[in-house]
């Protein structure tokens, strides 16, 4: 607990630089990642991340310096080259874009690893630490790094803000953008450059291998929470920053643990949780909706059945026993449970072992029967389905017919008072 407080209040200067630096760069990467995801270019981000490795090594070999800005120039060049090559291969050869990405990623990364081994075998003392670019070394971030990140992050965010509607348009409908005379090539170039830039600052913390996760995972998680682009970008920043905070905390408490991979693990965990519980789009919410629908169907069917009983004896408000109900068709297995639900909703009353429809229950049961028979009549008249086949279809469909559709059904029938089985359709 003491640890957590000390961590959170950022008293330790080193901790401060690492935490803020990592939160900043993963948030900005996720902004760019949102557009990559929407343009279906997530894998290109992965290729770029792997492609910067040979650039870093070449810069070191050529300039014989480990200065960050020297290395990053090389990273920018090979990062950019990889994007160009992917486009070139996809458009000029028979290979599809996913193949192009796979080839470029492997070739560049292989070259990078080869150069890295070569450098390490050279044995010069100054090269140690270059391998940190593979998996990142967030713990070694210092104040100057923070300033660099902050400036790049601010630049990136300004560009995104300036070109927000342009990026939005080409992500949604690039052909339309061309017809209104938008400089589509320039905008795509800009977005690609931002991706390379985000990758370059991101690899300091999480390294080349895991960079794709920082770009895409927060965006993917955010997509399940909202249907607005602006909100999606905001949520992905929050998820990215939160994961960075927690990941850094883990390696703060257990120094042997690497920060980068922990950030990625936490991000992925948050993403999986989002896929499960996000309202509307989450797997759990869809399941809950299904269960609700099934219950609705069972309850409405029982109300119909009670109405039929009433219709038969011309007395809707007579108390019924379960054994009486079991003589009807289509009775669900968990009848008493369903009856319990109906009682809770106020559609029936229970006295001892008997159940009676309330006024509301009779109205609802009546409406269900009405819709069922209207739909049967519609199937019979307009789709020419024989009378003995319409029942099952109506059983399935009646529960979603709205009042508007009901009104249209009535309008479309020549006789809205009689169903195909010659029964009267109630009001």
């Amino acid at each position: 607990m003491n640890d957590l407080l000390q961590f959170l209040t950022l008293q330790d200067a080193n901790v401060r630089y690492v935490v803020l630096g990592v939160m900043l760069l993963s948030a900005t990467s996720s902004v760019v990642g949102c557009f990559a995801l929407l343009r279906k270019r997530s894998l290109v981000g992965d290729a770029v991340a792997h492609a910067v490795l040979p650039g870093i090594c070449l810069s070191f070999i050529i300039a014989d310096s480990k200065e960050p800005w020297v290395l990053l120039i090389g990273a920018f060049i090979t990062g950019w080259l990889s994007i160009y090559l992917i486009d070139f291969i996809s458009s000029k050869s028979k290979l599809k874009p996913d193949t192009a990405v796979a080839i470029v990623l492997s070739v560049f990364f292989g070259a990078g690893v080869m150069l890295l081994s070569h450098i390490q075998h050279q044995g010069s003392a100054s090269q140690s630490g270059l391998d940190k670019f593979l998996f990142g070394k967030a713990a070694s971030l210092v104040s100057t790094d923070l300033i660099t990140f902050a400036s790049v992050a601010v630049f990136l965010l300004i560009v995104v803000a300036l070109f927000y509607k342009e990026f939005k348009l080409i992500s949604f409908d690039i052909k339309y953008a061309k017809t209104i005379g938008y400089p589509v090539k320039f905008i795509e170039l800009l977005l690609s450059s931002l991706t390379v830039l985000a990758v370059i600052i991101g690899i300091q913390a999480v390294g080349v291998v895991l960079m794709a996760a920082i770009l895409i995972t927060p965006a993917a998680a955010a997509r399940t929470w909202t249907d607005k682009l602006g909100m999606m970008i905001l949520v992905s920043c929050i998820i990215a920053a939160l994961s960075s905070l927690l990941g850094t905390y883990v390696s703060f408490v257990a120094p042997a643990m690497p920060t980068g991979p922990w950030i990625v693990l936490i991000m992925s965990l948050l993403a999986f949780i989002s896929f499960l519980i996000a309202p509307k789009k989450g797997i759990l919410s869809k399941y809950i909706k299904q269960v609700k629908n099934r219950n609705k169907i069972k309850e409405e069917n029982v109300l119909k059945m009670l109405f039929h009983l009433g219709e038969r004896e011309n007395d809707f408000f007579k108390p019924r026993t379960i054994s009486e109900m079991m003589t009807m068709n289509d009775v669900p297995e968990n009848l008493s449970k369903v009856l319990g639900g109906l009682k809770r909703h106020g559609y029936i009353e229970k006295q001892g072992d008997t159940y009676t429809l309330t006024v509301e229950g009779k109205t609802k049961g009546q409406r269900m029967v009405r819709i069922h028979r209207l739909w049967e009549a519609y199937l019979s008249e307009h789709l020419q389905i024989p009378a003995d086949h319409v029942h099952f279809n109506a059983e399935a469909v009646e529960h979603v017919i709205t009042h508007e559709i009901e009104a249209d059904l009535v309008k479309s029938l020549t006789n809205p008072n009689l169903d195909p089985h010659e029964s009267e359709i109630p009001k």
Partner: protein, 262 residues
């Protein structure tokens, strides 16, 4: 039966266009008049979509040119609006109906600018014209086919253009939406706009359009509808591909032959 229009807004000259390395339009020459509802009719694979895409300059041409309002395309882009096929985008995009229609104003707004009140007024007006005001904040993935079509239509209307190109706007659309759309197009035509529509249904073509283009890789006819929609010309259009021409198309593709010379 290729009649030239007086008061031309579109001038297509000797246009040859390839799709996937195969020439699908051969030496098309035609002109279209101002203030007309134009239908482009032909069988599947005839090159209808390619023709309007070439007219808008979004596919490369092998040879020939297109002039709009007497000028090159890039000069008059502000006056042209495009309604693409619904399948051309992924509708699972985080945006509302209003957002998409506002995209129609981006051309007029220019880079770096934010939407202003005037733009919002135009967007609401266009939403009203297509009957989507109640759905303006709805996520586009939750729209029906007819509603999606109307969103694209509203987006094009928001451009306040003079010439509209529409690619199968009635495909897979319910009859109520189709009636509403054709009414809107007639109003636009009466306002002096030119609307060029790729259409798939022969029966309604005679009723909807006052100028018709019949196309099947080559131009068969272009002129006022009553003179073009004749049995003889329709037979030529729908009577299958020209055998020799088909063989030529295939060979050009396999041999990777370049038929371009601009």
């Amino acid at each position: 039966m290729i009649l030239q229009a007086e008061n031309q807004v579109v001038d297509v000259h000797n246009l040859t266009v390839s799709y996937d390395n195969k020439p699908v339009l051969w030496n098309i020459d035609l002109t279209l008049p101002k203030g007309a509802l134009v239908g482009i009719i032909g069988p599947n694979g005839a090159g209808k979509s390619t023709l309007i895409k070439a007219m808008m300059g979004i596919v490369p041409v092998d040879s020939g040119y297109v002039k709009i309002f007497g000028e090159a395309l890039n000069v008059v882009r502000q006056k042209i609006a495009y309604v693409p096929q619904r399948e051309s985008v992924d509708w699972d995009f985080p945006a509302s109906v209003y957002d998409i229609v506002m995209m129609g104003r981006y051309g007029k707004m220019g880079l770096f600018k934010r939407p202003r009140k005037a733009d919002a007024d135009v967007v609401m007006d266009c939403l009203r014209k297509v009957g989507l005001v109640a759905l303006k904040d709805r996520q586009i993935a939750q729209l029906s086919g007819g509603q999606q079509q109307r969103v694209f239509l509203a987006r094009a209307l928001a451009q306040e253009a003079d010439l509209y190109f529409m690619d199968e706007p009635f495909a897979g659309v319910d009859i109520a939406t189709e009636t509403a759309i054709i009414e809107l197009l007639r109003e636009m035509r009466n306002d002096g706009k030119t609307v060029v529509v790729v259409h798939h249904d022969l029966q309604s073509a005679a009723e909807y359009f006052n100028w018709t283009i019949l196309i099947n890789t080559r131009l068969i006819a272009s002129g006022p509808t009553p003179q073009v929609l004749t049995n003889e010309l329709l037979q030529k259009t729908y009577g299958g591909k020209l055998d020799v021409l088909s063989q030529m198309q295939d060979i050009i593709k396999t041999e990777a032959f370049s038929v371009g010379h601009s």
